[in-house]
Every structure is written in C-alpha cells, then in structure tokens.
C-alpha cells in the first residue's frame, strides 16, 4: 500500500484524476504474460499508476517519489513484461497522455515525438510529408520513443532505415533526480538535430544494444531520424491485415527469394548489403509464413508429423522477403536487375510477388507498416524469441542452428509447441553493417508445462550466447546479466556506477537495468550447469587481455 502522504503528493502533483491505487486497475498493469520469461503471468502490482501530461508533471512525480522513498518506472505502450513494475513499492508512470508529435522537420528529416506516439501514427504523418520512419519488428503498435531510448529497436526495414538506437538525435530525459537533461543540440538550445556533444556524448549512458527498460529516469521527448519516402502520401488499403487489399506503390516491388541451400541465402544477404539495395528485408522460413497467414492449416501440418513443414523448409531453404523502393523508375529498375543477378548467382529464385495480384494486395501495407508480424500470436497463443546479440550475418545464421538444437529438445518433450523448425527472424542492418537474429518459439501460456520451459530455455540462450562470444539482447534479464557481465568487461559494474551517480536515492526500478539474480539452479540440467562452469573458466577475464 502506498502511504497516504505519498499518494496525496502525487495527486497534488498531477491531479487526482490522474493517479490511481485501485487494485483492479493496478492489476491491468500487472497482467503481463508476454515476454515474461519467469513463467509467471502476473508481474508485481505497482503501488500506484500516474498519468502525467507533460515533462514538468513527470518531474513532479519523480520528485515526489524521491521524497517518499518510492521507486518509479515509466512505460509507454507497456507491451510485454518489461513494461511492468518489479515491486509493490514502484509507482508506474504511464506516459499515455504524452502522445504528441511535437514536430516533423521535413527539410532536415527528423521528428520530435513524445512517448505515447505509436509507430503507425508517426509513419502516417511522415508519408504525407514525403518521409518515412523505421518501425520496429514488434509492429506499428510500439512506441518509437521507447524503441529509441529504452528497448531494442530492430525491424524489417533496418536494411534501409537502421535500428531505433541509431536513429536517435536530440533527447529530453527526466533524470532519476527529477532534473531534466537534454542530450546533444537541444541541450544547447540549438534545435533537435543532433544527440551527441558537446564533447563526449551522453547517449553513451542512455542506452547501448538495449536500453535500461525504464530503470534509469524517464524519457519525455526524442528526435528521430526520418528517411526519404518515395511513395504516395497515403497507401489506400481496404480491410485490416489478413484481408488487406491495398496496392503497393508503383515505385516498389517485392520478392520472395528462395535458395538451393542455406549458405546461398546468407551469401545473397551479404551481396544485397554490398550492392546497397533494398528497403525491407527479412528472412523467415516457409513454415513461419504459413503460421502467420494460415494458422488453421498450420496445426494440421504439424499433426502430420511436421514432415510437410520440414519438406517445405528444406525445399525452400532459408527464404527471405525483400522489398525494393526506387526514388525513380530508373533506380527501381536498377535495383530489380541487381537483385535478380545476385539471386541467380547464389543459386536462388526471386519470385516477384508484386506481379502476383493477391500477394501484392495482401502484403503491400503489411510489409510497409509491419502490420502482419504480430499475428504470430495466433496459433500458439503466445510466442517468445531467443534473442541473439547483433553481429555479422554469418554469426546470426549460426545462431539459428545453435538455438534450434536447444529448442527442439523442448518441443520433443512437450514443453513447446511444434512449429516445424528453427523459425528464425533475421534481418540486415544498414546494408549489412551487421545483422540480427531471433529464433521464435511458440507456446501456450495456459499450459503449465510450457511455462516451465521458459526459464531453462532462457538459460540455454545464455549458454549459447557465451559459446558464441556475444552478449545477447536478453542481457536485460537479471539472470542473464549476472552470468554475462563478468565475462564481458564487467559491464554491469559500470552500469551500477552510472546508475548510482545519477540516481542517488535509488528511486529507479532497476530490475531490468542493473539488478542481478542467480538462475534457479534446481531447474537447470546438471550437464548444462557443468557446461556453464567450463565456459566461465575458459572465458573469465579473457576479454580484457
């Protein structure tokens, strides 16, 4: 229970209508089954939830938490367990009322947004101005600010529009002390166009591969790099997702490319990066597409022993979808020709889906706005991913096999739904500056056996990452962080120092930023524990020598 005095201060700060401690209402923030790797479905019930409407109100809330010994954690859309509180002394700052697009600077190609602007809204506004915005793989539901400052942020369009963390320009940040810090040019009153300097960049402590997941103050505004959009101001589309009948803009085409073998597919991704073509590129196996758009067919295929799915996956080895966008007919023609040459040289077939009416109509908006991917929930009820770190495409490809090895054991034992194979989600950043891969697995969170697989599988992910010499994105989880940090320059010791310097009262909910936890060793296979010890012995301290 939140103390009366503290509650009254919150009410005074932002108005009684914007604060709640009603248990059922708080529970609507605690139901967090998605990406809840603990196997639980509810996270802690927060002490209160507040709805500030401005940076000043956020500051007031943060100061009230400091005065009253409460913890705080901000969320934007709050999708996934990372959006919840980790203790009942945490005040959740729901940033829903801060939902303005402050500015879209058409000439200098950036937008300044508040936390509750979603990707779909921003993209719709950008298109009207001849610009486009990166949308994260989670879909247009997600907050671009959260992706840029606090979470991960990769997406299908990363080949041409990078990843959220690298699209950050100026930032407005309410520190755990309640003070406002503006990173880069806005800190000097020079506009929002740059996030670094003067001198050392404070983006250095804002986030890395991932952010602090709300464990380090509150981000209230961010300027995001936008990109050129060669398409029309709106793309007309009837229907919603699976019944979409939109048209793909004339300046675009998209292809499903499949190969004789997996190495050919990876080679093609490398060459596409070198050739500097492509607007969207994502590698998903055939069974994933069936899963996405034909969930009714999927279980029938699985019931046949998965043989058909395996056949499809092998016959169409490591296919990927690529959407090309030309700023002129000449550029589109060039890109198409280069793509065909690349695919041919890699023993593949590029099927021009944009010439197939139904596919063109179905996939146009679904690709451009990334609307189709959240349908992955439809079959299993729930899914999760083994998060890799971001590295060279070859490494990402290897990850699919490593995780398949682990995952299939759970599938065989009934701990996960049989989804027909490795199911990677693999993308290429910035014309192959580097890549990202996750291995998707399906489960039903109403099934206790499935839930009990999650922690051990998370442990396996960590083991695989150590073997691969890579800090996985999953290092935001306290267990993974505890295992990884000593093997990676003690990064968490530095995070703790930074956190302490800026959060002297320890007001932030740091579970997903600096807290550490041991795995539940009783639930881990002894052979795997042995393997962990061996890896720790092999690698400890070696990265600094």
């Amino acid at each position: 229970m939140i103390p009366e005095k503290a509650y009254a201060e919150l009410e005074k700060a932002i108005g009684a209508d914007n604060v709640t401690r009603e248990p059922a209402m708080l529970d609507s923030y605690s139901w967090q089954p998605f990406l809840n790797m603990s196997g639980e479905l509810w996270v802690a019930r927060p002490a209160a939830v507040v709805l500030p409407a401005s940076t000043e109100e956020v500051q007031e809330v943060v100061r009230a938490c400091n005065r009253n010994g409460l913890k705080l954690k901000a969320l934007s859309t709050g999708w996934g367990a990372q959006g919840g509180a980790s203790g009942d002394d945490t005040v959740l700052i729901d940033l829903r009322r801060m939902d303005r697009i402050i500015e879209i600077d058409e000439k200098n190609m950036y937008a300044v947004v508040e936390p509750y602007v979603c990707g779909g809204e921003l993209q719709a506004e950008c298109w009207k101005r001849g610009l486009n915005t990166h949308i994260v793989g989670a879909g247009p539901h997600a907050s671009p600010l959260a992706g840029a400052t606090s979470m991960h942020g990769c997406g299908n369009d990363s080949i041409s529009m990078s990843t959220s963390s690298r699209n950050v320009l100026g930032v407005e940040w309410v520190l755990p002390s309640g003070e406002v810090l503006r990173l880069g040019s806005p800190g000097s009153g020079a506009g929002w166009f740059c996030g670094d300097g003067p001198g050392p960049s404070l983006r250095s402590i804002m986030r890395g591969t991932s952010g602090a997941f709300g464990g380090f103050g509150v981000f209230t505004k961010v300027a995001l790099k936008l990109y050129h959009w060669p398409g029309p101001p709106t793309v007309e589309s009837e229907g919603t997702v699976l019944d979409s009948t939109g048209e793909l803009p004339e300046c675009m085409s998209f292809f499903n490319c499949s190969f004789a073998g997996e190495q050919d597919s990876v080679e093609a991704m490398y060459r596409i990066g070198e050739a500097e073509i492509g607007c969207i590129q994502v590698r998903m196996v055939t069974s994933e597409f069936i899963l996405l758009i034909m969930p009714h067919l999927f279980p029938k295929l699985v019931r046949k022993g998965g043989a058909i799915l395996e056949f499809l996956n092998e016959a169409m080895a490591s296919p990927f979808t690529i959407l090309l966008a030309g700023n002129s007919p000449g550029e589109l023609a060039y890109q198409e020709k280069v793509l065909h040459e690349i695919i041919r040289s890699c023993n593949g077939i590029a099927m021009d889906m944009s010439r197939i009416g139904p596919a063109r109509r179905l996939m146009g908006m679904n690709l451009l706005r990334c609307t189709i991917f959240p349908t992955v929930f439809r079959f299993g009820n729930m899914f999760a991913t083994n998060l890799d770190g971001n590295e060279a495409l070859d490494t990402q490809n290897a990850w699919t096999h490593t995780m398949e090895g682990y995952k299939s054991a759970y599938v065989r034992a009934g701990g996960l739904i049989d989804d027909g194979g490795e199911n990677p989600y693999m993308i290429n950043y910035e014309n192959n500056l580097y890549g990202h891969c996750e291995t998707i697995y399906l489960y039903d969170h109403r099934n206790r056996e499935h839930l009990e697989s999650l922690e051990p599988l998370g442990f396996d992910t960590t083991l695989a990452a150590i073997e691969q010499c890579n800090v996985p994105l999953a290092a935001f989880e306290p267990v993974t962080r505890k295992l990884m940090s000593p093997l990676a320059c003690d990064f968490n010791e530095w995070q703790k120092k930074i956190s302490a310097a800026f959060d002297q009262n320890g007001v932030s909910d740091t579970r997903l930023y600096t807290d550490e936890e041991d795995p539940d060793y009783d639930r881990i296979d002894p052979a795997k524990l042995e393997k962990l010890k061996e890896l720790q012995a092999r690698f400890r301290g070696k990265e600094r020598r």
Binding site: Y110, R182, C194, P198, G199, T209, L487, A488
Partner: protein
C-alpha cells in the same frame, strides 16, 4: 609532476622498455601544439607504448602518481589543440601502435591500432577492394582512430548513418586503468575467440545498456585511451564520375546537397568556397568559376553490381533534382581533378597551410536553414577584424545522411605574425559566441570556443562531470580540457 615524478618514473620504467620513454627536449617539442593561438608548452615526458598492456600499465602508474596523461596518435604538427599538453603532462604517443590487427573482407571491417594512418589503411583496404571513409583531405600522418574519435565528418554522407560512424567497437583504458571493450567486442572471449566464433566486432553499441564508445568519442582523451578499434569499410567503387554545381550563395547548394543526401544519391558530397577550392587544388586553382561556392559530388558504381547502370540512373536522377534547384552541374576534367583529391589523404602537407602558413578552424553543426546566415555572420565578424573573404575559407559537409551540416571556417593567417594570430583568435572567439546564438551547435569544442560551447549547456556539463568522476576519478586524462577544468570534477574534490 615534479613532486610525483620520481614514483611515476619508477613505475613507468617497469611498465615499458627504456627506449619507449622520451625525455629529450627536442623530441618533446614535437608534441607541443605547434602554432598560435593554441600553441602549448612541450610535455614533461612522452612515452611510446607498443601494446594495450603497456598502455594499461602507464595509465595505472599515472593514476597512482596523479600524473596527467595526454594521448596522441597522429604525427606532428598538432594544430587544433585537442592533444596539446600542458607543461607537466605526460604524452602517451600511440603512433607506434600501428598494426592492423584484423582485416575482414567479407564483413567489411578492420580492427586497427591508433597509430594506423589513413594512407596505411587505404593501402591495405584497396588490396581487398575496400576503402576507409576519410575526412576531407587528412594529412598523411593522421591517425584514423584519432580522426574517428574526434567525430571528424567523413566526405561520403550516405555512409554516415550515426554520429559514431565509421567507428564501431573500441578497446579503451579508462582513467581508472580498467580495460573495457565496447559493442560486440566486449566479450566473452578475446578477439581471437570472437573471430573463431564468426564475430567481426561489427555491432558498435553495447554491451547491454552502455554505449561507452560514445563516451570516449569526442572526449579529446579526457576519459581514457583507446588502444584499438574496429572500423567500418566500404566497397571501393570501380566507376566514378564527379560533378560540380556552383552558385554565388550557399543556400541552393545546401538544398541540393540535402536532396541528394536524403536519397542516398552519390558518394562524396562536399561544399567548398572558391578560397578553399584554391587551397586544395594548389597552384592549379579553381580557374574561372561561375560561382563563389561549389558543391562537388561523386556518382559511382560498385564492382559486380552493374556499375554503369548505377551511374546512369544516378546521373539522370541528379539532373532532375538539379534542374528543380535551378542548378546546372558540370562534369569534366575540373570536376574529376577536384573530386579525385577529395577522396584521399592529402598528398603534401596540410592543405590549409597553403594560403598563409596556418589556419584557425572554427566548426560546428547546423541545419540547412540557418547555415547561409551563419556564413554571413562569420564574414561580418571577420570583416571587423580586417579579414576579407580570401582570408576565410569555407567547407560545408553534410553529415548524418543530410540531416545536418558540418560548417567549417578556415581562417588563414601567418603563424609568424603574432598580431595576426591574436586577431584571428579573437575573431574566432567572437564569431563562436555570435554563431552559437544563431543555431550553430559546437559539438566538438576546441579552443578558443570551448567555453562558448559549454556555457550553453550547464546540464550537460553537470552530467559529463559526473561521468568524469566515474571513468577518470583521479583526473589524470587530458587534464583541464573540455569542461573538466581544474577542481571541477567530482573525483578530484
């Protein structure tokens, strides 16, 4: 360092071979900033470590003794003052650490030590059909890492996705003497382990929620010493054509540059005034130019990817954009000559010395709209100090794929004329103050505008000092630079 010197020297002697310690006055003189107004005294000592381990030992010894270290990677002359020592400082000269530790053609990345220069990396890369990104005409002994760590803009904006580019992962020895590796180089395992696992040190962010490469970048050595880094390389085009668009004002050229950059059209994209173009071309000069400003751009094709067709569509698209902007770009010998020079390190000495022997550079970031007004404001201030248009060269570079511009004024002067140097310095200081109020963002603070830059962002200064207290609590790294003036760093109180 007089009172602490003995202990430090003893530690140093155990850390590096004797020949790595330089105390000869003549040799120390080379480390002083060489020309007014940032001219400095020589350091008390210089040390030339040959490995990361030796750097770590040197830093540990300095931390123990409270001696201030100034890392230097490029060869002399040192002009901007970023590596200028104060008397009593010890220079850590990294130019001898000049190995290319790893070269990965497939992933287009190299891991290099601080002493690797642009010509050296260019030569190695060319063997594999790759090229490093360069700032405008770096001098031949310029360290690649020093340039990238200083966020010097590269001339090909389409490869400048983020301000860190083309820098990827770094190994840094912080002022605490802790070694840290950033991005995907952080571990587990050493570089060899990571290579064996297929990694290529390509992810510049992390590990986890840190991005400390950004902390050491732009820090002028105040946080730590970088001992190696991975850097991004690009495919070397097999076909290049240069074009030049000219105008009497910067505005249409800036607009044109924005339009090209936003479509990732072209490679090199550099805006110069005729003064700077003359300096760069040397005796040949720009010849009769139809405008005072010129935008040089390159269209290229990549080997194996239909280069002729790529060049063809780019030229067509650029022609359309140019027509809309009322510009008539010209191709031909003059464009090719200037373009070819822009793509490589400077053949001779620093081009900025050609006009009068020295230049004081004032540079900042700005968006396209205020930039022309900032140019006018600079001329106005320069005029008040008796400096004409031929005394001030202009270089404007689109950065972040055209979201903003690096605007640089090169104020030429005779280094032998103390009065001229002082006048130039005063003009630069006054201009910085004026420009900062008109939309100029001094993201890379050097003298004489360090205070101007930091006066505008007290909150940033407060945060940076907290970080200085964490990563260099003894204030031994490049003491007194940036906003870390004596006694103002938490760790030193």
């Amino acid at each position: 360092m007089a009172d602490r010197g003995g202990a430090f020297l003893n530690s140093l002697a155990g850390a590096v071979p004797g020949e790595a310690i330089i105390s000869d006055a003549a040799r120390l003189e080379e480390y002083a900033a060489s020309r007014p107004p940032t001219a400095s005294d020589p350091p008390a000592l210089a040390v030339r470590p040959r490995s990361s381990e030796e750097v770590r030992s040197v830093v540990a010894a300095a931390a123990e003794a409270g001696v201030s270290l100034v890392p230097v990677s490029s060869g002399a002359p040192h002009v901007k003052g970023g590596s200028a020592p104060h008397s009593g400082d010890v220079v850590v000269d990294l130019s001898g650490m000049d190995r290319i530790l790893h070269f990965d053609r497939r992933n287009r990345v190299a891991v290099i030590e601080p002493g690797v220069t642009f010509p050296a990396l260019e030569e190695e890369a060319a063997r594999e059909g790759l090229r490093p990104m360069t700032p405008l005409l770096p001098r031949p002994n310029k360290s690649v890492l020093a340039s990238y760590l200083e966020r010097e803009p590269i001339t090909v904006p389409k490869y400048h996705w983020d301000m860190t580019d083309p820098l990827l992962c770094v190994e840094v020895v912080f002022g605490t003497s802790d070694v840290f590796r950033t991005g995907s180089a952080a571990g587990p395992g050493c570089l060899e382990d990571q290579w064996a696992a297929g990694n290529a040190q390509k992810n510049p962010m992390g590990p986890a929620a840190t991005d400390l490469a950004r902390l050491v970048q732009g820090a002028q050595g105040t946080m730590g010493i970088v001992t190696w880094a991975s850097v991004r390389l690009e495919l070397e085009p097999c076909l290049r054509r240069f074009g030049i668009a000219t105008s009497d004002s910067t505005a249409p050229l800036l607009q044109f540059a924005s339009q090209l950059a936003r479509r990732k059209l072209g490679d090199e994209l550099v805006l110069l005034d005729s003064t700077n173009a003359s300096c760069i071309l040397g005796e040949n000069g720009p010849g009769e130019s139809p405008g005072r400003f010129l935008l040089v751009y390159c269209v290229s094709g990549l080997p194996g990817y239909l280069p002729e067709e790529k060049v063809a569509y780019q030229e067509r698209d650029i022609a359309v954009i140019a027509e809309r902007a009322g510009l008539r770009p010209q191709y031909g010998d003059r464009a090719e000559e200037l373009g070819a020079m822009l793509s490589h390190p400077c053949a001779g000495p620093n081009w900025k010395t050609r006009m009068k022997g020295a230049s004081l550079d004032v540079f900042f970031l700005a968006t396209a709209e205020p930039a022309p007004g900032l140019v006018d404001a600079m001329y106005e201030v320069a005029g008040r100090y008796g400096l004409g248009e031929r005394d001030v060269g202009i270089y404007i570079q689109p950065v972040m794929q055209g979201r903003s511009f690096h605007v640089e004024f090169n104020i030429f002067f005779d280094p032998g004329d103390a009065g001229a140097a002082a006048r130039v310095s005063d003009a630069a200081g006054e201009a910085a103050g004026l420009l900062a109020g008109k939309g100029a963002f001094f993201s890379r603070p050097y003298e004489p505008w360090v205070d101007v830059a930091y006066a505008r962002c007290p909150d940033t200064v407060g945060a940076l000092r907290k970080l200085k207290g964490i990563f260099d609590p003894g204030d031994i790294m490049s003491r007194g630079k940036l906003c870390f003036k004596g006694g103002e760093t938490p760790g030193t109180r």
